[in-house]
Symmetry: C2
Subunit: 219 residues, 2 copies
């Protein structure tokens, strides 16, 4: 198909498609005539994937480039692939700022998190930034005078464990590594967004029910 | 206490504290002498809250101002307060971009989401942006040729419902509206971050276990 058709199918402007090609995110089309190139469904799929990363994942171009390279590289194990995506999704900002916010209580909280993850038997990298992120949350809770130990984390860890098991079952049935890689990365990004959205709605629902009568929920 | 002491206790630079006062986020201290003001633990608590919004919530100053005003306004019901926080947390960007990404499939997906929430009996505002966010996720899944119906959402909605009930129990025991409001807002922001972090770690754990042998998990 021509670039105009590719643009129509994916709702991505022609200029943006050309930009992604120049940036090396999308392979160039096959040249068919002077100033004309043909694109196939492979381009279409890759383009949709890029848009998911940009629109839903909020990822930068350099992060997307790294993720696409990892998807394409047969030697990257799939568990590393997922880790690359997680690191790219807002992780850096959260860690640096959260560390700053919680200075002083962080070391203790980090010990709590590490022991807790070990007690769960989770196999996760010792340098996973999520360890510090979760420790920051505990440190801030402690500083506010609330319980900030593993009992706070329990229900969240259990929910996360069950959801990850569910996702794994739906992803690992794919035929090829390439298909599994794309399914894995896409679901990691999309279902995180869905989970956060549903959690917010569930909170609003429970609050509405709990404080019913104090004021109309939608008023 | 003096501003230097307030700065030391909260690890927020003096210049930043003055900036928050000028921006109306933090009430000014009580003037005790020319060029000197006294701050109390109320300032300290408010400052910590502002830092949580900035560092963990990623909120803009105008969003923070709106949330603080709602916390202080006795007439704002607590379920509205939570909604104000949710709308402020990255909501706008996600909706606009996600809508763009999923043009064409969104109306159907939105119907699916609305019917599903109704079937759950959740009391949530008809214009909650999370409805569109979740619909975008479904629309994108459909476009990729995967199942994008309420069965995908089921496990996430159930987890969200259980976690919200758990949070509600730990928050609503507070004595005053002011305490409840602060506890509610803080937990909404912090525990969302904790949940996302734990979900990522759980995914990495399940992937490591599933693909064990294909490569060393931390190599």
């Amino acid at each position: 198909m021509r670039i105009s058709e590719l643009s129509r199918r994916t709702a991505v402007p022609v200029g943006t498609i050309k930009f992604y090609v120049r940036e090396g995110l999308l392979p160039p089309g096959t040249t068919t005539a002077r100033n004309q190139a043909k694109y196939d469904t492979g381009h279409e799929e890759r383009l949709r994937l890029i848009r998911i990363f940009v629109d839903i994942g909020g990822l930068t171009l350099s992060s997307i480039r790294a993720i696409l390279a990892a998807i394409d590289d047969e030697h990257v194990p799939l568990n590393d692939l997922c880790r690359i995506v997680h690191r790219a999704m807002h992780g850096e900002r959260l860690v640096a700022d959260a560390l700053h916010a919680a200075v002083g209580h962080l070391a203790d909280a980090r010990d709590t998190v590490d022991s807790y993850l070990e007690s769960l038997g989770w196999v996760v990298a010792p340098d996973a930034p999520e360890r510090d992120i979760i420790a920051s949350v505990l440190a801030i809770l402690r500083r506010l005078g609330w319980a900030g130990d593993e009992t706070v984390l329990g229900p969240y860890a259990q929910a996360a464990d069950e959801l990850a098991a569910f996702e794994m079952a739906s992803v690992t049935a794919r035929a090829s590594r390439a298909e599994t890689a794309v399914a894995l990365v896409t679901r990691t990004v999309l279902l995180e967004v869905a989970l956060v959205g549903l959690r917010r709605l569930a909170e609003e629902h429970h609050l509405s029910v709990h404080f019913r009568g104090s004021a109309p929920p939608n008023g």
